[in-house]
């Protein structure tokens, strides 16, 4: 009786979920509009804007660039974040807590401020509108997540488990391959997926440091939405949402999203 879920409460929650998911649901019907302008409901139906999207050269270039940046950021972020998380969890050294705070601090800074700050330094370093510059800027927003997830993963892996494997005759490499790596896998996959998604979707900082030569997909979409109101954005959105859902689904099926992000 107490703490039971009543029908009105159920309906209220349903409405809030509709509100929350509405913007993501609405683009699906619109993406199949054949109209030249954004009208809802569409006057005519078809895949005109999907075709247009794939034929839009600048968009496709931006997509490839974003893919490249997100992959690079994922790999480099793990390569830098994993050892750092290991050092923070497994070694004791002066300034360990400070290092942890410093590495996760970029999360606290508003991205509009961080974007400007990065612009001010990168303009001097001639990194504006370059692949390197975008990767470096994205790394600063993805690595805090890597560090957080991986330090948690390391702290749930007691050293004695690795020692036990050693005592049973496993060489250091075998210990890493058979014990450490499998036990870190959930955190590893979560870090990688999150890094990729965050980098691929990053727009505020990118707006400051992309240039005409090098622009990312979200920036391109942003510019497009700002200047045009045709339904092509809906088609792009559907593709992006589908890809995101696929990634979430895979993580959820293999690891459990609530377990990996909830902690």
């Amino acid at each position: 009786m107490i703490g039971k879920i009543t029908i009105p409460f159920r309906i209220l929650v349903l409405c809030i979920y509709l509100f929350l998911l509405g913007p993501m649901l609405i683009v699906l019907p619109l993406s199949f509009s054949n109209d030249s302008y954004l009208t809802f409901p569409p006057q005519s139906w078809g895949v005109r804007w999907y075709t247009a999207m794939f034929g839009h050269q600048k968009l496709m270039e931006a997509f490839q660039i974003s893919l490249g940046i997100a992959s690079t950021v994922t790999v480099l972020g793990l390569a830098a974040g994993l050892p750092a998380a290991y050092a923070i969890r497994r070694y004791s050294f002066p300034g360990r807590d400070a290092a942890m705070s410093l590495f996760t601090a970029p999360l606290l800074l508003p991205s509009i401020v961080l974007g400007l700050a990065i612009l001010l330094v990168f303009v001097q370093a001639r990194l504006l509108g370059t692949f390197t510059g975008l990767v470096a800027a994205h790394l600063i927003v993805t690595t805090p997540y890597v560090i957080r997830i991986m330090t948690t993963a390391f702290s749930t892996l007691p050293p004695s488990v690795e020692e036990a494997a050693t005592m049973l005759g496993a060489s250091p490499f075998t210990v890493f391959r058979r014990i450490t790596l499998p036990l870190l896998m959930p955190g590893f996959v979560a870090s990688a997926a999150l890094s990729f998604l965050i980098s691929f979707d990053e727009v505020v900082i990118s707006l400051f440091i992309t240039g005409p030569r090098m622009t990312t997909l979200p920036v391109e979409i942003f510019d497009y939405v700002e200047s045009r109101t045709d339904p092509m954005t809906a088609s792009i959105s559907v593709c992006l949402i589908a890809a995101t859902l696929l990634i979430i689904f895979i993580i959820e099926r293999t690891l459990g999203l609530s377990k990996t992000i909830g902690k």
Binding site: E163, M167, A170, P182
Partner: protein, 378 residues
């Protein structure tokens, strides 16, 4: 691989090694230094094949450090660790062929029980078919047959401990190390596991080092006990030696309960404390300060009477009962002798007189129950 097999077989074949047998595990002056702090200080220790050695001591005495050095998980700062004559001090831990059971079990959480137990065999390249039989044998040995498909987290603490033991033993290690294996179990289970570990150890006749801070474990399970303090071996001996003939005040005080009384040596067979003079063996000392240790359960408490009456106990002192603590199998008395407070323990089953607080009593004890440590103070 063949070597390991044969070694295991010969260890099994050696039914009852005599005390005269040469040491199988030999620690020769091993030392562990952390900066200026010495955790283990020039430790020498011999353990014959098939024996169970208990390393007993308070927190920070260096017993776990010693164990981890034998295991190879800590490097030695100096000294040699010899197993069957070869120095292994510089060998990496995974080549030492030593089984280790951890305090927190350290089972691999992502593997089943069978996979856990099989891990060491896999590392040794044992054939798949043989692994299966040996894993099942090992699980039977720890009374967990058929549990192979479970995950560690589906098992109780005691079961996990057994798996951990099976995993360490299935590789037929040259030496088995147990690091406080019972401290995470509840009291009843601890009693059971104590017996079980001892039985398995004796059946396999495996040379074993057991680290514990619990004197009951050390005294009941081990062939010999090494009491450690401040990185040094305070005494090495049989459980009886340790309890009845402690080499120094630290051991006397740490192992078992003790009345430690400040007194003076009067002659080779006489000491004085408080107002009385008592007969004992001073081990040749003729004078000087001394600390006298009497075990509470060796103090006989009798109704008040004239102490000049001759008794078999020889030593006696008058006192008044300050406090009575009923524990079940024994009653503890705190007895005020005027100059000291003496603790005495009386078995309730003995049918002896039960005294009340405030009652006058006579405490008696035998000369051999007084342990005299010349020098006094701690």
């Amino acid at each position: 691989m063949q070597m390991v097999e044969r070694r295991g077989a010969s260890a099994n074949g050696d039914a009852r090694p005599g005390d005269s047998e040469p040491a199988f595990l030999k620690l020769e002056g091993i030392t562990k230094q952390y900066g200026t702090y010495t955790a283990v200080d020039n430790l020498h220790l011999d353990l014959p094949r098939g024996k169970l050695l208990g390393l007993l001591g308070p927190s920070g005495c260096g017993k776990t450090t010693t164990l981890r050095m034998i295991a190879g998980l800590l490097s030695v700062s100096g000294g040699q660790i010899k197993v069957g004559g070869d120095d292994i001090a510089q060998k990496p831990p995974h080549k030492r062929d030593i089984g280790l059971v951890f305090q927190n079990y350290a089972l691999f959480p992502h593997m089943t029980v069978a996979e856990n137990v099989a891990f060491g065999l896999e590392m040794r390249g044992v054939a798949k078919s043989e692994i299966a039989t040996r894993v099942e044998e090992a699980l039977e040995m720890v009374r967990l047959p058929g549990y192979g498909t479970r995950k560690p987290k589906e098992m109780s603490g005691g079961q996990q401990q057994r798996v951990s033991l099976a995993r360490a033993l299935v590789i037929r290690p040259r030496i088995l190390l147990l690091d406080e294996p019972l401290s995470n179990l509840d009291a009843k289970l601890r009693d059971e596991m104590r017996v079980e570990i001892r039985e398995i150890q004796q059946r396999l006749s495996i040379t074993t080092v057991f680290v514990t801070h619990d004197q009951v474990e050390a005294l009941t399970m081990c062939d010999c006990v090494g009491v450690m303090s401040g990185g040094k071996l305070a005494q090495l001996g049989s459980p009886e030696d340790i309890y009845e003939r402690p080499a120094n005040l630290f051991v006397a005080d740490f192992v078992g309960r003790a009345n430690a009384l400040e007194g003076k040596i009067e002659d080779v067979d006489t000491v004085r404390f408080g107002d009385g003079v008592y007969k004992c063996d001073t081990h040749g000392a003729r004078n000087g300060k001394a600390t006298i240790v009497i075990r509470p359960h060796r103090v006989h408490v009798t109704p008040n009477r004239d102490r000049t009456l001759v008794s078999v106990m020889t030593n006696s002192v008058h006192g008044r009962v300050l406090r009575v603590t009923y524990i079940g199998d024994v009653v503890q008395y705190d007895i005020d002798t005027g100059t000291h407070v003496l603790k005495a323990e009386v078995h309730t089953a003995s049918g002896g007189h039960a005294f009340a607080a405030g009652e006058k009593v006579l405490c008696e004890w035998k000369p051999q129950d007084m342990l005299v440590f010349a020098g006094g103070g701690q």
